[in-house]
Each structure stands twice: as structure tokens, then as C-alpha cells.
């Protein structure tokens, strides 16, 4: 099979899917041209991510990585959420096919983008070096393909 059971479970039964009307931060990464867009909404209270929602346009692994990423950061302090790596997402899903790793990168970036939006909306200082500039997912994908 293309995907692990865990990936298929998150794809078939995505957790925390949908829109959030009163989000404190919204991050959107990806590019429709490349075939993946993730939008992540967070609700923050006392530096804790109290609620997360996502919307994703993309393949099965794009939906699964966003779903599991929301689970991994929900209820966590912001600084812990920022430490979420694409590798951790892949591991939590029991692996991804090589050409789908970029989806996990996108999930990591979606979380960071949502936090960044929260910081900016609330005038909170943050470490700007944590963020890549512009639309990285395609670039990541290109790098990845070349590695193969």
C-alpha cells in the first residue's frame, strides 16, 4: 500500500478539520499550483494553544499530516508547538513515502505560520529567523526530488 494505516486513518477521519471563526492566528502555506495548500487556525490562551483547526487542499498525505499536526500541538504551550518538526510528524504517522515527505514539511510550516500570525496580530516579539521567507513548499519539494 502507498500509505501506512495511521496515514489512512488520519486521511479518512481527519481530526480538527474545518474553519475557525474567531482564531487568534491563521497560517496558510503551500501553493495551489503545486497541488498542496494547508491553512491552520489556532486559539491561544495564556501562551497555550487551546484549540486548533485546519483546512487542506491536497493529497492524502497532505490531509493526514495536517490532521496529526493539529493533534500534536493542541493543548501545548506555543514554544513546544514551534518545536514540532516535520520528522516528528512523519514518525507519528508511521512513515510516509519518500515523495510525500514535503507534506510533513508543509504541516510544520503551517503551524509556524499560524503562530507567527498570532504574534504579529498581538504585537508579540518573536524570533524571525525561525521562518523561511515566501512559499517554500515547492522549493522543498524540488530539493527533495533532486535528492532521489
Amino acid at each position: 500500500m502507498l500509505y501506512s494505516e495511521k496515514v489512512m486513518d488520519h486521511f479518512r477521519n481527519p481530526r480538527n478539520v474545518g474553519e475557525m471563526e474567531d482564531a487568534d492566528g491563521i497560517g496558510e502555506v503551500g501553493n495551489a499550483k503545486c497541488g498542496d495548500i494547508m491553512r491552520m487556525y489556532i486559539k491561544v490562551k495564556d501562551n497555550i494553544i487551546t484549540d486548533v483547526k485546519f483546512m487542506t487542499f491536497g493529497c492524502g498525505s497532505a490531509i493526514a499530516t495536517s490532521s496529526i499536526a493539529t493533534e500534536m500541538i493542541k493543548g501545548k504551550p506555543i514554544n513546544e508547538a514551534l518545536e514540532l518538526s516535520n520528522k516528528a510528524v512523519v514518525e507519528a504517522l508511521g512513515g510516509l513515502p519518500a515523495h510525500k515527505i514535503h507534506c510533513s514539511v508543509l504541516a510544520e510550516e503551517a503551524v509556524k505560520a499560524a503562530v507567527k500570525d498570532y504574534y504579529e496580530k498581538h504585537n508579540i516579539d518573536y524570533d524571525k529567523s525561525l521562518y523561511c521567507v515566501g512559499d517554500c513548499p515547492c522549493a522543498h519539494e524540488h530539493d527533495h526530488i533532486e535528492e532521489e
Binding site: 503545486c34 497541488g35 487542506t56 497532505a62
Partner: protein, 394 residues
């Protein structure tokens, strides 16, 4: 399971399997051997060659057995290129949406100094004959244009293309992998010099195909070896495959009118019903297409997730999204007919066969809109389109 990926491959028919069985069991002699077992294989081989030739209106000596469509495409193009080079003709004309077996062979030739013109296929997926005629030069050694497209099913004006090529003295090859067994093919009437076909697209076995090359065309060997296939393709013949292919082709040609009538009815039902999904659009000409081909784009969703959910619902389908093609870009066919990337990612191809029933199509008509709606609900792209932040393309 509802199998609607018949452009990918088809189910082996019972009659083809029955024809093959003796050659998979007791009749295992090598067709090059002198003993009677070998000679029985040889006889089966030549009977199959005659049967296949008859189906194409060719003569048996013009039929070369290969491993399938890709090998036939490679050999046809490389042969014509080599013949061209001898006369210092190194220009080839093709189309933008050929199968990769053709496109990648042409890319290889471009690296070797050949010039290739890729004709536009326009929005409806059909070339313009005047584009072809004006692309032909003194240097043109080959025109290679597919009979029917594997993704969107559009059918090219093959006879007219053949006539133009003949008028200009240029060899004409057609990749007819999707056409043979599905529409009438007559190499004489349609002025075809070389043609590729593959058995598993018409309920024959995998791993076997034909290159038809008109008498007098000297083929370049891809596989050196024994004297098989008049010295043009070495290797012990796959008798079971060849016999199965001949049986499947005879059946397909015999049933062609009846099957295509039934498929057309079901295909048009799909086009009409699924076309009612808002912001959807059929890919390729609605009429000048294979009777078994449905291909539509749905805005705001991505093809792989659509396929996975349809698979969960018991429907085997296909898509031209990048994720399913294993590359970065969506289908080159959809891009060639002018679909923007973001729309091309959301395509669905359903290809029918003689085994497809109306009940199955009714179920698909019920299921696809549900899945499209479900995916759109979680799609940020759809969200922006619906909220007017972006303009609908379809």
C-alpha cells in the same frame, strides 16, 4: 469493486485466457525449434500474426511482436529517425500530449541533434491539420501522432494526417495503444506507415504488443539476438501472450460496434450527470473522444485524495494530479489543453469497458458528487473561491 481504469489496463477476457492456457501448460515448445512441439508453437505464432494483420488490414509480414506499446513506440520512432538521418532529414513532428513512450524517445533524439515540432492540441485536444501541413519541411523524416489520447480520449483525424504525410513523402507513425480494439483501425485506408498497439488495453494479457511497419520500412533493432521477428526483434517469442492478444483483438473487433454503443451511452450519462457538479468541466472534446473515456476537472480539490476516497467506496479511478503522477507537475495532457495547474490537479478519469454496467455507473454518479463536496468543504482553495476572494476558473 467497480473498475473504471480501463485506459490503465483491462481485465483479461475469459476467451483470451482460454486461448493462452495450452501455451502456458503443455505446448511449451520454442517456436524456433524443429521438433513437432516447437513447430506447433510456430504454427500458433503465425496464425496469431495472420489474425492480427487481418484486424488491422495489414499483411502478416508487417506485424512485429514486441513487449508492448512502449517498446513499439520506441522502435518505430528510432527506426524512422535512423532512416531520416541517412538522407540528412532530422526533423520530426509530434504533438504536445503524446504518451511518455513517445515524448521521452523524442527528447532523447533532440539531444542527438534532431529537431522536433510539437503541435498544439488546442482546448478540445485535437490537432489542426493546417498546423501539421505547415510544419512539414524538406527535413521532416517522421510524423508521430497518437490515434487517441490515453488521458482524455480525444481522437485525432488519423486518415487526414496519413494523407498529408503521404502527399509529402513523410513516414507516419501512430501510437494507437488506446485506439486498437476500440475504434476502427485500417492501416491501408488511414495511410498509416507504422502503428503501436498493446494487448492489455483490449482485454488481452500484459507484456505483449505489436509494431506494425509497412512493408519496405527497415526497422532498427532495439534488442539484438536471434532471427525472431524477421531479425528485427531478438528473443524467444511469448507464444501464450501472442495467442491471447490475437484472440482478444479478434473479439474486440467483432464486438466493437456493440460495445462502443453501450459505452457511449454510459459515458454520456457520466458526462451529463457529473457535469452538473458546480465548477466542473469536461476535458477534451465531448464527441470526438473514445466511447469509454470520461475525464473531468473539479475545481478546489486535489485528485489523489479524490481517488483514495473513491477507492474506499469501491471505485477504481485515475487522475492527472501531480501526486498521482509521481512528479511535480500535473498531467502534461491537461496542461497541453490549457488547464491551469491548480485545476489540472483536480481531475478525474473514468474509463469504461465492455464489462461496465449501468448499475455501476449509477452508483458512481451518486458517489462522486458526495466525495467532491466533502473534499471541497475542507479545502482552503474552495473556501476562497466561494467567499469571492478568488475568481472561479471553471
Amino acid at each position: 469493486m467497480i473498475y473504471l481504469d480501463n485506459a490503465g489496463t483491462t481485465e483479461l477476457s475469459k476467451s483470451a485466457l482460454d486461448a493462452m492456457m495450452p501455451y502456458l501448460t503443455r505446448e511449451y515448445g520454442n517456436a524456433s525449434s524443429l521438433h513437432s512441439s516447437g513447430q506447433r508453437s510456430k504454427e500458433a505464432l503465425e496464425t496469431a500474426r495472420e489474425d492480427i494483420a487481418k484486424c488491422l488490414n495489414a499483411s502478416p509480414r508487417e506485424i512485429y511482436f514486441t513487449s508492448g506499446g512502449s517498446e513499439s513506440d520506441n522502435q518505430a520512432i528510432l527506426s524512422a529517425a535512423e532512416l531520416g538521418a541517412k538522407k540528412n532529414k532530422k526533423h520530426i513532428i509530434s504533438s504536445k500530449f503524446e504518451h511518455h513512450a513517445v515524448l521521452h524517445t523524442l527528447k532523447k533524439l533532440e539531444k542527438q541533434g534532431y529537431k522536433v515540432t510539437y503541435l498544439d492540441v488546442y482546448e478540445n485536444g485535437i490537432i489542426h491539420l493546417d498546423d501539421l501541413e505547415s510544419a512539414i519541411t524538406e527535413e521532416t523524416c517522421l510524423v508521430t501522432i497518437m490515434f487517441a489520447n490515453n488521458e482524455i480520449g480525444t481522437i485525432q483525424p488519423i486518415k487526414e494526417i496519413g494523407e498529408i504525410c503521404r502527399k509529402h513523402g513523410v513516414l507516419f507513425h501512430t501510437d494507437a495503444v488506446q485506439a486498437v480494439g476500440h475504434i476502427n483501425v485500417d492501416v491501408k485506408d488511414q495511410c498509416i506507415d507504422m502503428l503501436s498497439l498493446s494487448a492489455h488495453k483490449f482485454h488481452g494479457p500484459k507484456g505483449i504488443g505489436v509494431l506494425y511497419a509497412k512493408q519496405g520500412i527497415l526497422l532498427t533493432n532495439l534488442i539484438e539476438g536471434g532471427a525472431q521477428e524477421r531479425g528485427r526483434r531478438g528473443g524467444t517469442e511469448n507464444i501464450a501472450g501472442i495467442v491471447g492478444m490475437a484472440q482478444a483483438l479478434k473479439d474486440a473487433v467483432k464486438e466493437l460496434d456493440e460495445v462502443s454503443k453501450q459505452e457511449t451511452k454510459l459515458r454520456d450519462k457520466l458526462i451529463e450527470s457529473l457535469g452538473k457538479i458546480p465548477h466542473s468541466s469536461l476535458n477534451g472534446d465531448a464527441k470526438l473522444r473514445l466511447s469509454n473515456n470520461f475525464n473531468m476537472c473539479f475545481e478546489g480539490i486535489e485528485g489523489e485524495s479524490l481517488l483514495l476516497l473513491l477507492d474506499d467506496a469501491g471505485i477504481c479511478a485515475s487522475s492527472g494530479s501531480a501526486c498521482t503522477s509521481g512528479s511535480l507537475d500535473p498531467s502534461h495532457v491537461l496542461l497541453a489543453i490549457g488547464r491551469p495547474h491548480e485545476v489540472a490537479h483536480g481531475s478525474l478519469r473514468l474509463t469504461l469497458s465492455k464489462y461496465t454496467t449501468e448499475e455501476e455507473i449509477d452508483y458512481v454518479i451518486k458517489k462522486v458528487p458526495e466525495v467532491v463536496e466533502y473534499l471541497r468543504k475542507m479545502s482552503p482553495v474552495w473556501d476562497e473561491l466561494e467567499k469571492g476572494k478568488k475568481q472561479h476558473i471553471l
